[in-house]
């Protein structure tokens, strides 16, 4: 969720226009190369995916250097990885994983069931600093049956376990090398870590003894360019071959018009919402929240803040998920209805509230537009721009806010609505019961039904203002094949990437 803000838009636009004139002159070479340079806006603070939340860590290491028992496919499906297969006991309380054999870590040591036990016990242990520790709650025991068999025992059935174990936070690490994983990660993936020039780039190279299908590339470089203008220049100058999350979406038409580049627009797991403090008056009144929902014109926000990239949502769920229900109808743009609802709630003259905005451009630009739309129905907002650390302190932990805008990028995170202490402070027992049911359900059709009910409850309760699903807007040189179009998890999986 930590995107950098887009600053100096004017200079970006100026450079973009000049680039348009020059792009015809840019010479391209698209020979069958075996190396690639990937641009990223933020540099990872360290390279240990089991010890931090920064998306940039997974964007370098996930599937490339580290692997878990299961893994996400480009479409978000959960596939076998280090676990070749698994079975669930009849009571749903024991998962038996059969591991791949012949797997080695990059330092040459063998991978076996003990590494799985070590990794899972470390992540769920008392001293754990795992950012997604909740993924492992419910695991009561990890038993090594033999070198290639591990049994994970649960307190209660959890149909989500294979999904949870596919996260970057659940990758398998070795006890001998984990201490240095921050700067010299050792995993089992098709690429091994080569070097890190801090502030500039990270290099990974093909691991020759990889157990599975070998990578097509010999070498990959991740280059860190935070400034949107610089990212644009680096792409045009050919210093970077692909920018999977391109920070200057306003320039995408320029790349689109140039046959030497491909523009890749996909979806992410980022539900962008106008988070509302459900305990702070007047937002404790559902009529006020409903008025808020009808006062917002989503398409104006998508066009104005996201240059048209983004899919409207009416609930906290990704539209590309099979269980998604389109509930945008519950909150159609209707300022007159919003005014009427406010009058009913006793706020005919409107009211004042705070709108606290974190750095990403969706929040800063979107915030201005939403403030204007709310003003139309009589709601005055006092905008304050916060850095992420301040936002976490004031809004997320301190719950000192009326409204804020955030993209929730964790996959399948509707469960946060069942946490009354979460920063929206939404407390609904019916929904909490539903989420508890979901954890126990292993039947796919049944799970889907539960998820649909949950989406409907939060939509009809107008917990938050549901804006849009964040798009993944990427640029790549024309010859590159195999980059992920969508972003089911924040990763740059290079295992199937090659140059045409």
């Amino acid at each position: 969720m930590y995107h950098n803000s887009t600053r100096k838009t004017a200079s970006v636009v100026a450079l973009a226009m000049a680039g348009l004139l020059l792009s015809g002159l840019v010479a391209g070479t698209a020979m069958a190369r075996t190396d690639i340079t990937i641009g990223m806006q933020l540099e990872p603070p360290n390279l240990d995916p089991t010890g931090g939340a920064a998306a940039a860590i997974d964007e370098v290491v996930y599937a490339n250097i580290f692997e878990g028992l299961t893994r996400f496919g480009p479409d978000g499906s959960v596939n076998p990885s280090l676990a070749a297969s698994w079975t669930v006991s009849d009571d749903g309380l024991a998962y038996t994983f059969t591991l791949q054999s012949g797997v080695t870590f990059h330092d040459g040591s063998a991978f076996d069931a003990n590494d799985v036990k070590f990794s899972l016990d470390r992540a769920r242990g008392e001293d754990s600093t795992n950012a997604q520790k909740a993924l492992f709650t419910g695991i009561t025991d990890v038993t090594v049956e033999d070198d290639t068999t591990v049994i994970v025992t649960l307190a209660e059935p959890n149909g989500n376990l294979p999904f949870n174990l596919a996260w970057g936070d659940a990758v398998i690490v070795a006890e001998e090398s984990i201490a240095d994983a921050g700067t010299a990660p050792v995993g089992t993936g098709p690429f091994q870590f080569s070097r890190w020039v801090q502030g500039d780039r990270i290099e990974i190279v093909k691991y020759d003894d990889y157990w599975g299908t070998e990578a097509k590339l010999d070498k990959a470089v991740f280059k860190f360019i935070s400034e949107p203008t610089a990212a644009f220049a680096a792409m045009l100058a050919g210093d970077v071959d692909a920018f999977p999350v391109f920070p200057a979406p306003e320039n995408l038409p320029i790349f689109d018009a140039n046959p030497q580049f491909q523009v890749v627009i996909g979806s992410t797991e980022g539900e962008t919402i106008l988070s509302t403090n459900n305990k702070q008056p007047p937002f404790d009144n559902v009529k006020v929240r409903q008025a808020l929902a009808h006062a917002i014109d989503r398409s104006a926000i998508i066009d104005g803040a996201m240059f048209g990239y983004g899919t409207p949502i009416g609930t906290h769920f990704a539209p590309h998920n099979p269980a998604y229900v389109d509930l945008t109808g519950n909150s159609e743009y209707d300022p007159e209805k919003a005014k009427a609802l406010l009058a009913e709630a006793g706020f005919a003259d409107g009211f004042e509230t705070t709108l606290k905005l974190p750095p990403p451009s969706y929040a800063r630009r979107g915030g201005e537009i939403i403030a204007a739309q709310l003003r139309e129905v009589g709601i005055k907002t006092e905008i304050s721009n916060l850095e992420w650390a301040q936002w976490l302190e004031q809004v997320f932990r301190g719950k000192d806010y009326g409204l804020t805008i955030v993209s929730h990028t964790e996959p399948m995170d509707i469960g946060i609505y069942a946490r009354p202490d979460y920063y929206f402070q939404y407390d609904n027992e019916a929904l909490q019961a539903l989420m508890t049911d979901l954890t126990g359900q292993t039947d796919e059709a049944e799970r889907m039904e539960t998820l649909k009910q949950a989406q409907t409850i939060i939509s009809e309760d107008y917990v938050n203002g549901y804006l849009f699903q964040l798009a993944k807007t990427g640029v790549a040189a024309a010859g590159i094949v195999g980059l992920w179009e969508n972003s089911p998890t924040q990763a740059n999986d290079l295992t199937a990437v090659y140059w045409q």
Partner: protein, 315 residues
């Protein structure tokens, strides 16, 4: 001379102590907890507590200040919260980019400013003088990041002589490193050269009007001889002051240029550390920059004394 230097040295130490307290207090007051930043939205409270303990954030501010300053005195800058590597190593790596860049830019700017300033002063009112004044006015007015973008557009995107940015590292060869720093150095040097040549010109004009220059001319020295033997040396004091300020600025203030050219320099490190609340890095780097600036000022003070004997005697 020795007393003068001792007095300056004492004020240097005092500045450092005051700066360390100011930096620590300011950064501690700013809200934001490094551990919660690192662990993100889904972290559980006990996980955050674990990390805070691991990072030593559970100690009192006074204890942390003392251990920080105690470390600094022994040359230990501490360990970065987010990178988990010693701050000293990180800073050393970044200095390998920032220091050569600042020197390169300073060299370029003096190489341009000295002859231009002297030319303009000796031909006061001429076409050369007017065009120098006009060009330098423009050089001061153009923001360096905009000029940097222009350089990228022409030399990286269009002509492809240079990369749009990045730094291959000195191990890729001296000239490869120098080449990567060329556009940023030019972008940094242009406004500095403009300022410096104007200062050079006006300072030289002031001294050229002095009585002793007229006396020197009356003695039979040519204009050129009077300029080189008497005026130039006396015109150096304001120029040295500006030069010292410029070097400090180039070292500490290149953040924007480092961002435009995505160079792994000190400025970008601080910028990143501030957003990530990597407090120990921010504190140590800012302290180091303060030290550098104070040291440069000290050296400039000493240089005054060398140029101007009166300062030596006064002290």
């Amino acid at each position: 001379m020795l007393r003068y230097i001792l007095k300056r040295a004492l004020s240097l130490v005092l500045s450092l102590v005051v700066a360390s307290i100011l930096i620590f207090v300011t950064i501690e007051i700013v809200p934001g907890d490094p551990a919660s930043y690192m662990l993100g939205l889904n972290a559980q409270p006990d996980t955050i507590e674990n990390l805070r303990r691991e990072l030593g954030l559970d100690k009192t501010p006074v204890a942390r200040y003392l251990s920080w300053v105690g470390g600094l005195v022994q040359g230990d800058f501490g360990t970065s919260y987010t990178y988990r590597t010693p701050v000293a190593d990180m800073v050393a790596d970044r200095l390998m980019v920032s220091l050569p860049l600042a020197l390169y830019a300073l060299l370029l700017s003096t190489a341009i400013a000295f002859p231009v300033g002297v030319l303009a002063a000796t031909r006061r009112g001429s076409v050369a003088d007017w065009s120098v004044m006009g060009t330098t006015q423009l050089g001061i007015a153009i923001p360096n990041f905009w000029f940097a973008l222009l350089l990228v557009l022409v030399f990286a995107i269009n002509l492809r002589w240079f990369s749009a940015g990045g730094f291959p590292g000195w191990e890729a060869g001296f000239f490869a490193g120098l080449k990567a720093l060329t556009l940023p150095a030019v972008a940094l040097a242009l406004p500095q050269a403009s300022i410096l040549s104007r200062v050079m010109r006006s300072s030289l004009l002031d001294t050229l009007d002095e009585d002793y220059i007229r006396t020197a001319r009356a003695k039979g020295l040519s204009r050129r001889q009077a300029l080189w033997r008497h005026a130039l040396r006396n015109a150096m004091i304001p120029v040295l002051t500006i030069l010292g300020l410029q070097f400090s600025f180039l070292l500490a203030g290149a953040i924007i240029i480092e961002n435009v050219f995505f160079l792994p320099g000190l400025g970008r490190l601080v910028f990143q550390a501030i957003t990530q609340r990597d407090l120990i890095v921010v504190e140590s780097v800012v302290m180091l920059l303060v030290f550098a600036v104070v040291l440069i000022t000290f050296l400039v003070d000493v240089a005054y004394a060398l140029v101007d004997p009166r300062l030596r005697q006064q002290a």
